[in-house]
């Protein structure tokens, strides 16, 4: 029993520990970068980037699970895709919100119609449609099938959306990470924060997955 509990919650525990470490690093460890006279605004970067990564990861999981569902018709895959899409919308919303909070001091406005922001917004709408299709479909199995189609089409659309909007001039800061623009401490903080959010995502996905599995079971018992 005890071992079972550990196996069930180790990801969540690891996530909590990593998030506490990340908080310490973000506020006390990492050097201050004063940006346009705002010494603290830049620190949101360490939450914003991991949230972006998790949002993208979740939609990638939706894509893969959707293909797997259409191929195997195993409800497990639909459950994964559905749970991951819900989390993806939460993290995309967080991505837009943290971005806006940063944009206000940095750019003076909450929102600009910049390529990356616009792409994120379009992404958000595609996956809201993904959830709506399920509830509009009537039957559950049909909804799963329709959603899987949208999970594939929507994900393939993302690079084209990004490409189209990137042809406009971009205002979003270019990804510094790949150009070596971050010093050691900043890089370490970002990495810990990335790991923390990935653990958080994985444990949330796991909880949502088993919750939905229990819902299926309950419904099938009720029908008998």
């Amino acid at each position: 029993m005890e071992q079972n509990v550990f196996r069930k919650y180790w990801l969540a525990v690891l996530g909590v520990v990593l998030i506490l470490v990340a908080l310490w690093m973000v506020f006390l460890y990492v050097p201050t970068v004063t940006q346009d006279g705002h010494p603290f605004a830049q620190r949101i970067f360490y939450f914003h980037v991991p949230v972006d990564w998790v949002a993208f990861l979740s939609f990638f999981i939706v894509f893969i699970a959707s293909i797997a569902y259409l191929r195997t018709r195993d409800r497990k895959w639909d459950n994964i895709a559905h749970s991951s899409a819900e989390l993806g919308i939460i993290f995309t919303s967080l991505m837009l919100l943290t971005g806006m909070i940063w944009a206000r001091p940095a750019w003076g406005v909450y929102w600009v119609w910049d390529p990356r922001l616009t792409t994120a917004l379009v992404l958000w709408f595609i996956y809201v449609a993904y959830l709506l299709v399920r509830s509009y479909a009537g039957e559950e199995v049909r909804g799963a099938r329709f959603a899987a189609v949208l999970g594939i089409v929507g994900f393939i659309d993302v690079p084209i959306v990004a490409l189209a909007i990137v042809l406009w001039r971009t205002q979003h800061p270019a990804p510094l990470v790949f150009e070596g623009g971050l010093d050691g401490k900043m890089m370490a903080t970002l990495m810990v924060s990335l790991a923390a959010f990935t653990c958080l995502f994985a444990s949330l996905l796991r909880v949502r997955f088993s919750l939905r599995k229990a819902e299926y079971l309950l419904r099938s018992i009720e029908q008998e």
């Binding site: 509009y136 479909a137 084209i160």
Partner: protein, 223 residues
């Protein structure tokens, strides 16, 4: 009968039924002209601001008229249970996609052929040039490729009229952006070389979504 022949038979059926009812083209066309006129009220009539907003107006009009006509594409099939007839026909389901897609493309092109000159006259812009026509054709192929897939999906849901725009609009965002930008360049007299990258995005979108939709369509019309 070859695969293409079967698809064309479906398209022919749609054209015949449309020629008799004139349901899709006529209503979508009236709608498109109304949208153009409403926008004229919204933005005032001075020439400089018109040239600036004209490409946007054109593509909002074509997008909404497209949604309207795509929405009808599978409604008749569903209401008269014709879809079941198509599904028991001895052919792969992908053929239905090609046939219906060609029909929708044709109807939208007819609407655009009539709406473009009207737009040119009312807004005093030179929209009847070869670049604008090429852009319109490429964008409309993209609309038909995605729209036929989502139209077949929407017709099997409860709120069918609402579902199509909710699915369709975010996915065709790259088409709308590219079409508006390219049209704006074309209207201000830029050459083909300036349009290149936008036309490339439109072309890439068309090819990718024709292939993907072709592949996933059978999953939509399973029952």
């Amino acid at each position: 009968m070859s695969t293409l022949g079967k698809a064309l038979a479906i398209t022919r059926k749609d054209i015949l039924s449309e020629a008799r009812s004139k349901e899709i083209v006529f209503s979508a066309l009236i709608f498109a002209i109304l949208v153009i006129i409403i926008f004229n009220f919204a933005f005032g009539a001075d020439q400089t601001s018109m040239t600036l907003v004209a490409p946007g107006i054109l593509w909002v009009t074509f997008t909404f008229a497209g949604v309207l006509s795509l929405n009808r594409s599978f409604v008749a099939e569903k209401e008269e249970n014709c879809l079941e007839g198509l599904m028991i026909a001895p052919m792969p389901r992908e053929v239905i996609y090609i046939g219906k897609g060609l029909g929708s493309l044709l109807f939208m092109v007819v609407i655009e052929i009539i709406a473009l000159p009207i737009f040119t006259v009312l807004f005093n812009v030179s929209a009847l040039s070869l670049p604008v026509i090429v852009i319109t054709l490429l964008a409309t192929i993209g609309f038909a490729a995605v729209g036929t897939l989502f139209s077949a999906l929407a017709v099997n849901t409860k709120a069918r009229d609402m579902v199509l725009p909710i699915l369709f609009l975010p996915v065709v965002v790259p088409v709308i952006i590219s079409a508006v930008k390219a049209t704006s360049l074309a209207l201000t007299g830029s050459g083909w070389s300036d349009l290149g990258s936008w036309l490339a995005i439109l072309g890439a979108f068309d090819v990718i979504f024709m292939v993907v939709s072709f592949w996933v369509f059978p999953f939509i019309v399973e029952e």
